[in-house]
Symmetry: C3
Subunit: 435 residues, 3 copies
Amino acid sequence: MARMTAAGERPATAPGDEMYALVERLYPLCRSITGDGVRATLDIVGEHIPLQVHEVPTGTQVLDWTVPQEWNIRDAYIADTDGNRIVDFAASSLHVLGYSVPVSATMPLADLRAHLHTLPDHPSWVPYRTSYYQPEWGFCLAQETLDAMPDGEYEVRIDSTLADGHLTYAEHMVPGQVPDEVIVSCHVCHPSLANDNLAGIAVATFLARALAEQTPYYTYRFIFAPGTIGAITWLARNAERVDRVKHGLVLACAGDPGSLTYKQSRRGDAEIDRVMRHVLAASERPHRVTEFTPYGYDERQFCSPGFNLGVGSLTRTPYAGYPEYHTSADNLDFVSREAMADTLAVCREAFAVLDRNRQYVNLSPYGEPQLGRRGLYDALGGRSDTKQAQMAMLWVLNLSDGEHSLLDVAERSGLPFDTVATAAGALHGAGLIKA
Amino acid sequence: MARMTAAGERPATAPGDEMYALVERLYPLCRSITGDGVRATLDIVGEHIPLQVHEVPTGTQVLDWTVPQEWNIRDAYIADTDGNRIVDFAASSLHVLGYSVPVSATMPLADLRAHLHTLPDHPSWVPYRTSYYQPEWGFCLAQETLDAMPDGEYEVRIDSTLADGHLTYAEHMVPGQVPDEVIVSCHVCHPSLANDNLAGIAVATFLARALAEQTPYYTYRFIFAPGTIGAITWLARNAERVDRVKHGLVLACAGDPGSLTYKQSRRGDAEIDRVMRHVLAASERPHRVTEFTPYGYDERQFCSPGFNLGVGSLTRTPYAGYPEYHTSADNLDFVSREAMADTLAVCREAFAVLDRNRQYVNLSPYGEPQLGRRGLYDALGGRSDTKQAQMAMLWVLNLSDGEHSLLDVAERSGLPFDTVATAAGALHGAGLIKA
Amino acid sequence: MARMTAAGERPATAPGDEMYALVERLYPLCRSITGDGVRATLDIVGEHIPLQVHEVPTGTQVLDWTVPQEWNIRDAYIADTDGNRIVDFAASSLHVLGYSVPVSATMPLADLRAHLHTLPDHPSWVPYRTSYYQPEWGFCLAQETLDAMPDGEYEVRIDSTLADGHLTYAEHMVPGQVPDEVIVSCHVCHPSLANDNLAGIAVATFLARALAEQTPYYTYRFIFAPGTIGAITWLARNAERVDRVKHGLVLACAGDPGSLTYKQSRRGDAEIDRVMRHVLAASERPHRVTEFTPYGYDERQFCSPGFNLGVGSLTRTPYAGYPEYHTSADNLDFVSREAMADTLAVCREAFAVLDRNRQYVNLSPYGEPQLGRRGLYDALGGRSDTKQAQMAMLWVLNLSDGEHSLLDVAERSGLPFDTVATAAGALHGAGLIKA
């Protein structure tokens, strides 16, 4: 599934290419927790998978929060007295402090400085900053740009509106055999940051497409929503049905060059935690599994103590774990087709396990059933080698006592989950176990 | 208990010698899962300990299985056109595929090959093969024998019968103070294989004799039965009383040069598991403790999920763990008096712990009882050394809360089990604890 | 808190100095499990903190024990025929076997030897020996003194009385906000031994004074009682209210040069065990945490299975862990101001944690509450650094589900307990959590 490194033809549908193309299209848009940038983003995602878009009015009470005013921005710049735009929103959506109130003024650099945000340690990078809940305006720029600005008067203009409107989020559902749900959530509120979280959006989109190839066991619900307030809004509007959510995964930072990191749910032993640990270990990829912390992405909300859902978070390098985090250096060069394809592959492997992981009950639990007369066992005895498939059947029979899942069997036996699931299928077919 | 290695007189009753002599007598017999070889084997064991022999008719339903027809064999050979027996059952019971149907034919080597079993990697060894539940005939021979056979016609003859009869197994009971049982099981179905399982039979026989030297606490039941179908038959016929079985041990591969391996019960924390781990560790013998797997010997049946008995398995090198396994190289040279004596010694040590391991209740649980006025404590205070016996009494008193056994006390205190059990006896004698 | 090592002025109230001065005053007194030495000791302690002194008559039944006769001693010596006192109680209270019955006799050295106790391995040290419950008399002396005694007649005299009287112990209480108690216990029965246990008495005394500086949450009860029989007497007289004791600490060997050792309660996971482990680890002092054993100091009684209190024991080098233990070498040179101050500091740190460790319940458990509008959260988003105080609030909110204490939060988050407790205070003040 990794991109071929040698020059040559690649099929147009290779998921790495498709995901990268999606990231490229989304990159220039100025997203925030509300506004037209989110809508444009969802329109583009909607070209790949059908989305149900929700608009929630400003002022709506959502749990402990209130949906804020909608923010939209058309233009923003700092210009010198000659009218040269030194900092220009048109060049990068990062240049304006997110949720800046409108401003139109001329002021000396000395006064302007209080509204300027830079990264002195990375003088050529532009930081990403917001002020959602306190009225404020500001610009983000490279330290070296600031250093080159002579004292004197500057024209500052932010052509934004902050007005009653809506918070926008979308859902996509892959119907399953049972109404029990797996949620996959990613935040859509960050402006021109490729890894955080356009790569996550891309992986979620193509994961949804892959899951729909055949009817899965679970119903999979994909949530594309702004961070924090979006997850809170979704939870508030779905509080009655949140008990349908059996497992979940928050996807973010899905395209950087680092190895994969799975952050466990607050429970730590939720089935998704066990599945992800198993799949990552079995894949022999370098990876990290970390404990839950109440910081990071929207697992914070899904794992708040009142909900306490079995929702973990999959990233490559986790949030704030790389210098490019929340800066202009998290750009299209920072993410790769290969990394996104790898993240997607692990998600598919994990959901392939999760979707088939069930507890069976051995219907012939007293002694071993005679597998031979059912055609499930080699007739010739005495040999010292035993096939994995037969071992898997013995393990499934032995542990199918209503307390062990197929994943338990795989972990205890050391056999691949696939072999175990296949054996369970054979035993189920022979009427020896029931689900 | 180990055999003296220097030349010199050894008492005729040294258990290593006696066990080896028993293995030597049993070795030539052609055992299978039914038939006169099993009966002859039990007759010889019965010279050492009284046995109750059970005969179960062909066709009897036993759990998911049916007792098969009885197999007996008188002669079998492959002869060349000159009448020279190239492969001869009379030389080794391994030469015939176990449960071979009768055959009497002349055929070219090309046709015969489909019925010949060899070990190309060990060209001078004869493999052990069976086909209990699928009608088949065949011969097992050395690869080098086969290589020396010129093309041409061969006379093949297996003078066997497969007919309604019985499955034979035996029990020996050492009555104890309570009806709760410890079972010791070993399989008696393998032909001329010394370690697997004549050594196990020998150790079980002499273990039974040792246990009978004084009335044990538990009732010990020894089961000599063919593998799989024998254990299943025993379980089927004892289903009503299987809840009397509190602990158990499957003995196999008890005489090879490897160190001891204890395979834990399916429960993993059954009392026999804890006892065996403790005794092996305390003995400072090199050894291994392994997790349960649903493959191996008859622990597979005793530990099937419906029964889930606290039955582990003690071997030296475990099944399939040595190249000689299930070949003619598992012969009288492969087992030793010393190894069998060592296996027996560990069994005796383990049962000495198991048999005395009980939970007591401290009848004076508020503060320490005054041991001094009961003559249980040194009168002279202030010394920095304290005798193990006194420490053991304090530990037994402190942990006798109805939740800790003497083995718990030994493990938590680091004191030898024997010291702890002796202390418990003294406290019991003083009326300070009750069982 | 450690004593300054460079020459210079130290405040007269430095706790190390005060504790050492207390040890110096107590050192010459001849204490035993009863008698005037205990009373004099409690009188001196009572000059520092108010004590409630209890006198329990000889013959009183206390649990499995009986309060013994009271022992007092005025003089004791071994003199040669010239009247020279070779061993003299006036020089050290250790010279007489504790609870010696009176004797006045002249006897040859050969007969006297059975009554003499020495330490051959430490020929210049005098051992500490007692015989509380078996009538006996004896002297303890240096081996080199004994070696220098020529054969011949000696006058031996012990002017002691063993008569109906009382067992004496004292309590000091620091009232708290709740009646739930923390007990701090130390033994007061050892004669001229500085580390065991005058240092423990001194640390307990100044710990009590420190706790009273502000009203603690718990009620702290300090128990100064003779070892074993004193703890048993206290338990017998407080059996009805022992369930008020939620936590406890036995203090002993608090002044030697070794690092701190915390011996866990019998439960092993009592809150005091967790607190002590946490504080010792967080302090980065070298230290040891050991499992409970039913030997040592009065934790033996508090942790007897009937009471099973959450009482651990804090020492520096534990009992019998140093050669000076129970010898004349456990003298005023063996303990230091710095060591006692360090022990006191750890006790204060531990009780500061214990006293504030509570479980809270998040009153806004569905999603995160909006901390920003309550002034508890930085308004400016997007930065990759997050302050510890904010992280602590998120952790407290996330884990305040009625199953986690603040100590759990500190351990799981890796944040200092103090930061966590402060965050809990802020959240409590904002009405977001309740106790």
